[in-house]
């Protein structure tokens, strides 16, 4: 994604940096908070497992079993779960799982979504209408339920096969393909009507070349922003999946949603330490990616920015020479 940006004329990051300087204090604070939290999440995902006192599937150490629902102590800073896992360890390991799933799910959905959106949007016709109908129908379907259904499909309907990282990633990915399809297709249809595409058609450039050289690259410019926003959605979907019992089994990876599911009963009996850490981890991660994505969109969208050169004068095309 970064590659696409870097090849752009005035590289987006440079423009964003200029805009960040002039952005309002609120916008700046939100964007920087988002970036900070996201960095923290990435850090936890990368080195968290090194800091964790135990492995995510460990139930015992040299001195025997940890015991279930132990309150926080020196050996277990955040206590243990009902199944006897160390809460702090599982929460730290959970960051790695979340990152792996986000990356896998989004890359699995972004490629088919983009290709379908490009071909369908540019060529139009009956295939396009069918795909749009399909995507519209899917859009009216709770993504969480779609992910649940997919997870059933992938696991072959047997709980014994469920629970792998791959299955979770695929389930989340399927829920996002229609979204990328819609976004990219809408952009393609817009770009298709741009005079520079007409210009290429008059020249006689081949359809394939128009699609990739002119349409695709101009249609995916907003994708990195959507990517950050969808990352939040992916974490939430994964957590929901885990909460409903369709996520990852505790012995294949640590997953926050699953741990929260297990803590429902604890909460009813007043235990806080099994629910709060994984819950807060989700909140902070989603908060980070959302603020980051929103902040970037805010800066890039002139309509939503308070300060802008656009409002300065009536007609944008000027006659004089402007040196870039």
């Amino acid at each position: 994604m970064a590659g696409i940006l870097a090849r752009g004329p005035a590289p987006l990051p440079r423009r964003l940096r200029a805009r960040l300087r002039t952005a309002g204090a609120v916008q700046r604070a939100m964007l920087l908070t988002g970036a900070g939290l996201t960095a923290l999440f990435l850090l936890a995902a990368l080195i968290g497992p090194l800091l964790a006192p135990y492995g995510y599937a460990r139930l015992q150490d040299a001195s025997g079993l940890f015991g279930a629902q132990q309150p926080p102590s020196g050996a277990h800073p955040l206590g243990t779960t009902i199944a006897g896992y160390d809460v702090l360890s599982r929460t730290l390991w959970g960051a790695r799982t979340a990152l792996e799933i986000i990356l896998a799910a989004l890359s699995l959905s972004v490629v088919p979504g983009t290709v379908l959106g490009l071909v369908s949007g540019y060529l139009g016709g009956r295939v396009d209408r069918t795909l749009v109908g399909l995507a519209d129908a899917l859009y009216a379907f709770p993504p969480l339920l779609l992910a649940v259904v997919m997870s059933i499909v992938i696991s072959g309907g047997r709980s014994s096969l469920a629970g792998g990282l791959g299955a979770a990633a695929c389930s989340v990915a399927v829920a996002f393909v229609p979204q990328y399809f819609r976004v990219v297709r809408a952009e393609v249809v817009r770009v298709k009507a741009e005079p520079y595409v007409d210009a290429a058609r008059v020249i006689g450039t081949s359809t394939r070349e128009i699609m990739f050289r002119h349409v695709l690259r101009n249609s995916v410019r907003t994708l990195p922003l959507i990517f950050t926003i969808n990352a939040s959605e992916a974490i939430l979907t994964l957590a929901g999946l885990g909460f409903l019992g369709f996520g990852i089994e505790p012995n294949s990876a640590a997953e926050w949603g699953y741990d929260l599911n297990r803590s429902v009963a604890d909460v009813t009996s007043g235990l806080w330490w099994t629910a709060l850490p994984p819950g807060l981890a989700i909140v902070l991660t989603v908060l980070g990616t959302t603020l980051l994505g929103e902040g970037l969109t805010d800066l890039a969208d002139p309509r939503l920015r308070r300060r802008g050169a656009a409002a300065v004068s009536g007609t944008p095309t000027d006659g004089g020479t402007r040196d870039g």
């Binding site: 309002g24 609120v26 916008q27 604070a29 939100m30 109908g133 399909l134 519209d136 129908a137 899917l138 859009y139 009216a140 379907f141 709770p142 993504p143 969480l144 339920l145 649940v148 259904v149 997919m150 059933i152 499909v153 696991s155 072959g156 309907g157 047997r158 709980s159 939040s232 939430l236 957590a239 929901g240 909460f243 409903l244 019992g245 369709f246 949603g257 929260l260 599911n261 803590s263 429902v264 909460v267 009813t268 009996s269 007043g270 806080w272 629910a275 819950g279 989700i282 909140v283 902070l284 989603v286 908060l287 959302t290 603020l291 929103e294 309509r303 939503l304 308070r306």
Partner: protein, 359 residues
Amino acid sequence: MSAETLEITGAAPAAGGTGRHGLTRYLVVRFLLIIPTVFILVSLVFFLMRATGDPVSAAFGDRLTPGQLQAKLHQAGYDRPLSVQYLDYLRSLAAGDFGHTVTDNQPVTHVLGVYGAATAELALNALVVALLAGVPLGVVAARYRDRAPDAVLRLFAVLTYATPVFFTGLLLKLVLAVRLGWLPASGRASTDVQLFLQDQSSTTGFYLLDALRSGDGTAVTDVLEHAVLPALTLGLLVAGVLLRLVRTNLIGTLSADYVDAARSRGVPSLRLVTRHAARPALIPVVTFLGLQVAGLLGGAVLTETTFEWKGLGYELAHYLTARDFPAVQGIVALFAVVVAVTNFLVDVVAALIDPRVRY
């Protein structure tokens, strides 16, 4: 020169110069669009579920001998070709028959009837919370754009979005129900009230309605107390979305030329917000809110599970765990119908607000 400039945000269907019959035609076409949407979803769910094998093996595969399994399969008709089963499924769906659950052998329509009201009640309660909180706060955020109230409200909106519904639920439960003991932690009513309500002569399934009709004050209070936490949990999720939506669209229309024009005629700034900018901003808000129904239902599943609110979502999670796919299929199909119909209704409302569609 061009009517394109008239469009606010792509949401409203453009229909310059069509007459009254244009609106009718639009609504009819829009209504007919429900059919393919529902058809696609129902078919998709059918084939996805079948891709995993037949429901009987899924539910009992590890508990029955091959012979017993075969007999059960034959009895339920799952040994026929898939295409035959599909057509059969569509035919019975059209006749309003959703099949039988595998695990407890009930008609799925019965399950939908019993638990549908609970989910509807939860969704309506949540919607009330969302509208009461989201709309006014969105207006405030837009009016005080980029100032302190806006910053606080935006943070609030992002937080409600970033917190998974079930975690919001758990937190509220932990604090308000368990620690402070102000509200009940789970269920739709206390056991005795529930029994009392079910004993009433004619029940709607909406507990609040039933309690009000019974005229029993304690029952009403009990039902209301139980409704608060789930409604708040789900409502806050939607309120956050609504707040952001109202804010963004209002900011968009507040900077529109026609608001500047009204300002240049001396219209007071409060009235610019509440009348001149609000109505055009409402159209995309309503349209987009329709699209949120799907998310609302997804949230309802999680909320019901968190609060043991015995509705469709709770049952869905239960049947999912039991691998009872006819039940899952039926509930999911109902969700699809509900979403498609709501989206249609929302488009009707949007069309009624927007004179460009109306005339």
